[in-house]
Amino acid sequence: MKRTLRMIALALVVGAFAFWTAAGANRGWTKTRVPKKIADAVTGLEGIQWQDKFVPGVDFLGAALLGAGVLTGVSLFVPAKSKGSKNQSKS
């Protein structure tokens, strides 16, 4: 159990970092909309169209690190499986 929690914590950090990097390594806040510029040839104006898109930011990484920290912390309080109990169950 202890080991499982720590593995999940590690997977969370690695997975979050990989996702953040793949999504463009945005060093700002997480975005759920991104602006797309659209030009109007007649007036010469440039409009902005907002598109729904999830772009993880540093707060996303922070949340992943916090989650991993909590899991690691919980793992410290989980009693390790003793070798004795394993042997007893075998016998």
Partner: protein, 202 residues
Amino acid sequence: MKTKFTALALATVAGMGLAAPQTFDFKDPKGINNAGFKLDAPLESINGSASGVYGTVTFDPENPGATKGRITVATSSLIVPNPLQRQHMLGDKWLDAAKFPTIVFESKEFKNVQTTGDTTTADVTGTFTLKGVSKELTMPVKLTYLKDKLSERVPNQKGDLLVIRSNFSIKRSDFNINPGQFEDKVSDAIEINLSIAGASPK
């Protein structure tokens, strides 16, 4: 003689018709009109825009200095990329969009008017109302009159277009938006750029 007089009268009326001020409606069917805004913040600047722009401007191509108008932005149409920031921005502690649903600029006077071809630049003074606080502001403005161009933008509709561009800045503290607070997180100055086109159908 009578025929000449009638022709002259008609020509005068036609001439007056050409010079008459036109009313341009800024509700944009193409969704291009927008008011962008930018605030400096430590991690990254907050860049957003508002698409809910509407209003009317009366413009006389023969006398651009007499331009008058009122442009309104729907507060709820303000968008920033981060959902939490948007929620805070529209919430009661910042813009209070529920209580103050519009941001309005009403022009009073045009100064330093310079016209070259279709383009007029000027400094416009008017009343800017944000979060229920009205202040007199002067901002540079560029007007571009596009005669008979409406049909190119909106098929089957003849008329003229008026493009308005303006960049100016305000202080949120002047409009009772958390004055003196959170300036380490969000700058007091708000840069605004307006890019809008209005139509005057014939």
